[in-house]
Symmetry: C3
Subunit: 305 residues, 3 copies
């Protein structure tokens, strides 16, 4: 089972049959994980290129590669030296292509992933390009919804917090657009509303959505996707201080509710730790789901399925 | 052969039968090393999480894991990004638990290891928590004493230098308390004496000990454990300058003596390089012993023995 | 097939029969790469010690080791903590020797590689010591010339740019001195001419050479080896600004010419991107050649051939 593309840079390139295939393979990968991994990618090398540190995403990719028997070469954040010497991203990727069989890259600039994919000599996966796309996160979010709810069609999904800079909620919105009868609820302060590109997408796709200010509007959804107000995206620190704790989900909010709680992590104060013990607190399971989903993508893009 | 605990955060949790078991397995691991390693931990992943850089300890753990056929995911010091985003250590560990089968963590705060172990979903090893504990160092020290002296019971062990902030000498003192008829000699400037917790421990255990100022007091011990005056533990730099070279062990001090010289390394000026060539200079062998000891711990905590 | 030395720190220690052997084994390694690697170094660990970041060289070594089935322990630049604690390079290397079977080290100081090799307990490879030597780069350059031109004897090789600080052109000059009837053309601004040590070497070896200011002088060579003006080697930034773009090779310069274009990368402005598409633009193939050459060296120094 392959995919009709060589590089994965955006959720926008995915069709419903692609996501169905990825979710299906990820389920198989969970079986492989239970048996302690396999040798499917023995002899293959993942180039893990992180221009911006992201322990979570990087370790998830590297774990996935190793669970399939593959190896890793890593260049992480600060020590990514060629950058300092003025090398273009295109040159860096052509060079890195010589050392590995597949690349996962995190980069702070929007569009860097497309530039990289355009020249990569090996399959390329966008592991986040600044406030742009983060398709593997969106796919693991989708896989989590499927596992937690048993389906995706027909669900009401609320997204809460920083919807303006929150790359994950943009990518997930685009993916959910592939499914039938989705309802989206966007809850944010007015300074951090969903950008026009997502709103326009919903209108064009005919997705039912509403924009709200109060957390209450999200509590009755099937899925409540919480996000962190990201300090690093603010130039005005006082604005960050004012907004950072505007939503705090507590166990008391969820009394008697079965809403599946998700979060891309790390969280700060937006989900109180008393939520962690609830059976519908899915965010740590969501993290775990990143491994089988990335195993699926690595294997599929390397043509090993 | 297992251990009666899942996580190793402190030498205080070890019994004599635990240390006997670990020393025994480490000896077996030396045999495996001589044969070029084995596949005992094939398919297992070590999460090597260093919030504070420590090349020595990290490489030792990673080498040990690979000698047993296992894989590694590493997050080292500066690039440990989630920390910067305000994530709690508990969340970081729950997340990291999803990516690996066992964790080794170095962290600058005392108590961080216990907090991490409390939530870790996989076996957890403290690789140093600030001025707190560093149990694998203490175990490799113990293994070195056993190998160099052929026994541990009945020995006279002198510890010299920064006994106040020197985590390794605290952990080793607690471990030696498991053995019979140990005599300890603590040599330090008055600003850097053994903390009350170790003195109290010695009194409670009935361990013979003395506190000294002069290096001479240490030269007739069976083992002389030298430590570095750690610049990074001082807030007043002039105090560091005054104390840093207060003890310098030279070959001349050791003429005709068989005292085993140990040091956790790195050393600066506290052991002159003319000591290196002496047959009783054990500090580089001590470093090497870190590998079989950590192989033993990884295998035992993963239930593979 | 072995080599008559344990450590590789300089191209000066290589004889013609050594380079012939290395080139031959590297050719075999290309065959192994085509088949997806092998298990020749299974169970062996490369210690990859980079005191100065160098993604390119480090990833190349690590990829080479993994293509042969070996493992890696890495200490990269900023996190190389023992350095901060005042440890000597000799101690660091003796310690690192305990954790691995072969070491590759990049260090900013000239002569550091020789100091390290003098104490290393395992085979040691210099991966660049400041403005000193970088023998594996020179060997991959040589291998590239052999592959691109089908021979090395009798060639005219032009070196252009920063010949003063450009470590790679020094090392390559010394290597080319092993071959017959080599002609060298050194093109640089007068502030960045070849150092006396290379000029003297050419005279002693009877190598034909000329020193030029204009790029034109290089265009008719068999090989044109372009280098970057290295910002990090200048103390006076205005001098860097003045010199940085003094030579810019463009496709127009190469019209109708078959000159093989090489560059150690990263490039900034010294080769226009319109050169990339020319069949004689060899610099990305040159990068790729680093892998089989380093595979050859790792295997030969570990006595596995």
């Amino acid at each position: 089972m392959g995919l009709p593309f060589t590089h994965l840079t955006s959720t926008k390139q995915l069709s419903r049959s692609d996501t169905d295939a990825i979710v299906g393979v990820a389920q198989d990968m969970e079986g492989i994980l239970k048996k302690g991994g396999c040798d499917l990618l023995r002899g293959k090398i993942l180039g893990s290129l992180f221009y911006e540190p992201s322990t979570r995403t990087r370790l998830s990719f590297e774990s996935a590669m190793q669970r399939l028997g593959g190896d890793i070469v890593t260049a992480d954040g600060i020590q990514f030296s060629s950058l300092y010497k003025g090398e273009s991203i295109e040159d860096t990727i052509v060079v890195a292509s010589q050392y590995c069989d597949i690349i996962a890259m995190r980069h702070p600039e929007v569009g860097s992933a497309d530039r990289a994919a355009a020249v990569s000599l090996v399959p390329f996966i966008n592991a986040g390009d600044g406030p742009g796309q983060h398709p593997t996160q969106a796919l693991l979010d989708l896989f989590t919804i499927q596992k937690e709810c048993g389906k995706i069609d027909g669900l009401k999904v609320a997204m809460v917090g920083d919807l303006r800079f929150g790359r994950t909620v943009h990518s997930l919105s685009f993916l959910l657009g592939l499914y039938d009868k989705i309802t989206l609820v966007f809850v944010s302060p007015k300074e951090l509303t969903m950008p026009e590109k997502v709103i326009t997408f919903c209108k064009e796709k005919g997705i039912a959505f509403s924009e709200e200010r109060a957390l209450d509007a999200a509590l009755t959804a099937d899925v409540l996707y919480m996000t962190r107000i990201q300090e690093e995206r603010f130039t005005d620190h006082s604005e960050y201080e004012r907004l950072k704790s505007v939503y705090t989900l507590k166990a008391a909010h969820l009394k008697g509710k079965r809403t599946v709680i998700m979060h891309p992590l790390p969280r700060v104060t937006e989900i109180a730790t008393d939520v962690d013990a609830l059976p519908n607190a899915a965010y740590f399971r969501q993290v775990r789901n990143g491994v089988p989903v990335r195993m699926a993508l690595l294997a599929m893009l390397l043509g090993k399925l």
